[in-house]
């Protein structure tokens, strides 16, 4: 499919311009909010009309600007689960699931709905209204409501964003089972790295209306080449850097990292790339890949050991985010246990240990 859609508002212009195949199975659309993922789904669903392009699923054409085809939403045969779920608040769970089956006889309708409710383990909720069930249950109802119609394509817009990890995993398993049996194209929008890794067959990384990377989750997330991908892939630390020395014999290069205000500098050893001394690149380091020591470590294989001071210690759920000023400011993630064992607090002198291969280089 190929979709182009531009939006113009005063002082703001946005162009969505994508082309990709949508074979059966999961295709993950991954990108920051505002990148155009939801607009793309709306175009496929027919809720938004593209400026031009072709949208076809398998051999069914939904939209073709040159042939003047624009199939009405109701006739596209899609299943669309919106982030807000949009369950009908005035209808019971059973009636919600039956909503899309208006075209088949009443008895068969009820039977197909109960089958789907059973499959998603929400049969006991059939008489309740959406306001009276939990978030995870609502999610299942929304999925069941979309799937019961036997859609030709399934569009999922961050369907699991609001759920805890355990519920998420169970629903993903259910979705996988369903996909095994039906094998239709499933476009799954998310900005969660975990979901990408859990689901992924194919990932399209979308930024600012364009596809900036695609491949398996492993390919796309582990070795990002584009900075936007890096930010998405969870690099908490991204620095502008200049290549200082290239050590072809050692398989490394030495980079000079520049801090946010451009005044502080740090030298680091990073993996070898084809770069001229003096060229500008970016370095991304995951906060979870950095070791933190309260005494100067010796005898390590890691090539980067940086002395610094703790700026702040902040607990986020089950991890602790420590900001350390070591010339540039770095974010380090450690466990609660590590924080307590090291008695970390602001002003404490620490050393950061960063392996060469934890430094990811990107073109600037």
């Amino acid at each position: 499919m190929r979709v182009r859609k531009s939006y113009r508002s005063p002082g703001h212009e946005f162009l969505l311009d994508l082309e990709f195949p949508a074979p059966p199975g999961f295709t993950i659309l991954f990108g920051p909010s505002g990148s155009g993922k939801s607009t793309l789904l709306d175009c496929i669903a027919g809720l938004t009309v593209p400026d031009n392009g072709i949208i076809a699923i398998e051999d069914r054409v939904f939209f073709d600007s040159t042939a003047n085809i624009d199939l009405p939403v109701a006739r596209r045969g899609i299943g669309y689960v919106l982030q807000q779920l949009a369950l009908f608040p005035h209808l019971t769970v059973a009636k919600n699931v039956e909503f899309g089956l208006a075209h088949i006889p009443r008895s068969e309708r009820a039977q197909r709905a109960s089958e789907m409710l059973r499959q998603f383990r929400i049969e006991h909720l059939r008489k309740l209204k959406p306001a009276h069930i939990s978030g995870g249950e609502r999610q299942r109802v929304a999925l069941a409501r979309a799937l019961v119609t036997n859609p030709g394509v399934l569009l999922l817009d961050e369907p699991l964003a609001a759920l805890d990890a355990a519920t998420k995993t169970r629903i993903i398993d259910d979705l996988r089972d369903w996909n095994q049996a039906h094998s239709i194209p499933i476009l799954y929008v998310t900005h969660s790295r975990e979901e990408v890794l859990a689901l992924g067959e194919r990932v399209l990384v979308i930024d600012n209306g364009r596809i900036v990377a695609n491949g398996t989750p492993h390919e796309v997330l582990r070795a990002p080449r584009q900075e936007t991908v890096a930010q998405l892939a969870g690099f908490e630390n991204i620095f502008d850097a200049a290549v200082r020395f290239v050590h072809e014999d050692r398989g490394t290069i030495t980079c000079l990292l520049r801090g946010e205000k451009g005044k502080a500098f740090v030298l680091m050893e990073t993996p070898l790339i084809h770069a001229e001394p003096g060229s500008h690149i970016r370095v991304g380091i995951r906060a979870g890949d950095i070791l933190l020591a309260v005494a100067q470590p010796i005898g390590l294989s890691a090539r980067n050991i940086l002395a610094g001071k703790v700026v702040s210690v902040e607990r986020r759920d089950m991890i602790v985010s420590v900001r350390v000023d070591c010339g540039v400011e770095m974010e380090v993630h450690i466990t609660l246990a590590a924080r307590d064992a090291l008695r970390l607090e602001s002003g404490r002198e620490v050393w950061l240990v960063i392996k060469t291969h934890s430094c990811h280089l990107m073109a600037k």
């Binding site: 669903a45 809720l47 109701a74 899609i78 949009a86 009908f88 608040p89 209204k129 306001a131 979309a146």
Partner: protein, 237 residues
């Protein structure tokens, strides 16, 4: 026993019931169009619908009288069709009242339609529902408080109208003499007991209608979407 002219009262209620029913039929599609159309000149239609709120009833009544009279094309057409003009008839009164009460029905309808979460409409469409089915199965049920308010206001407003009725209905007993005109007549004739009887009846009746309205709207459909439209629950603010 107070001297109540029941014929007048029944005529008034009959008029209000017919007008409310007609406004349901005309008002729902009109409100739907106002709520969802993207036509750039839509605001002109909205302004026209709202006109009866600001116009003195005598102005509306005057133009209706001219329009329904035997010199206007509409009036002549009616005359050819039924043998008489609509002026000074019950049908004419119904037409006038519909126009006069239009905004009181259409505005609450529109407000409640517009307050329905667009995501629900999108969900309905993706589930294969054509716009009419979405309207009946999703929009109408979720707009219940606004619909009840609109119909009740149209009803109450018709019961209480005076100027338009006087202009186009005249004061024909059993045909166009409504309660408010009866009260005016009785006062003119210094017949205070009769005026008081009809006034009290109207007062109690209006109170009963409004109490019923607030009672029905006390527990709206359990939807979060309706928090935003709570003003509909107190229409007279």
């Amino acid at each position: 026993m107070m001297p109540i002219d029941w014929q007048v009262f029944i005529l008034t209620v009959e008029l209000a019931v017919i007008v409310s029913a007609c406004l349901g039929v005309i008002g729902l599609p009109l409100a739907y169009w106002i709520a969802f159309s993207t036509w750039r000149w839509k605001f002109l239609v909205e302004a026209i619908v709202a006109l009866p709120i600001v116009l003195p009833p005598t102005v509306l009544g005057f133009y209706l009288l001219v329009a329904l009279g035997s010199r206007s094309p509409i009036g002549r057409w009616c005359q050819a069709l039924t043998g008489h003009t609509l002026a000074f008839t019950f049908t004419g009164l119904v037409v006038g009242s519909i126009l006069y009460s239009l905004p009181f029905a259409v505005q609450p309808f529109t407000a409640s339609f517009a307050a329905v979460d667009r995501k629900l409409l999108a969900a309905s469409a993706t589930l294969g529902a054509a716009p009419l089915r979405t309207f009946i199965r999703v929009i109408i049920p979720l707009s219940k408080p606004g619909l009840i308010t609109g119909l009740a206001l149209a009803f109450a407003h018709t019961v209480g109208e005076f100027g338009v009725v006087l202009m186009i209905g005249g004061n024909i007993p059993g045909v166009t003499r409504t309660a408010s005109i009866e009260i005016y007549d009785q006062v003119q004739a210094s017949n205070y007991a009769a005026a008081n009887a009809m006034s009290l009846l109207l007062l109690l009746f209006s109170f009963a209608v409004l109490a019923l309205l607030y009672g029905l709207n006390r527990r709206p459909v359990d939807s979060k979407a309706h928090n935003e439209t709570s003003w509909i629950n107190s229409p007279l603010q």
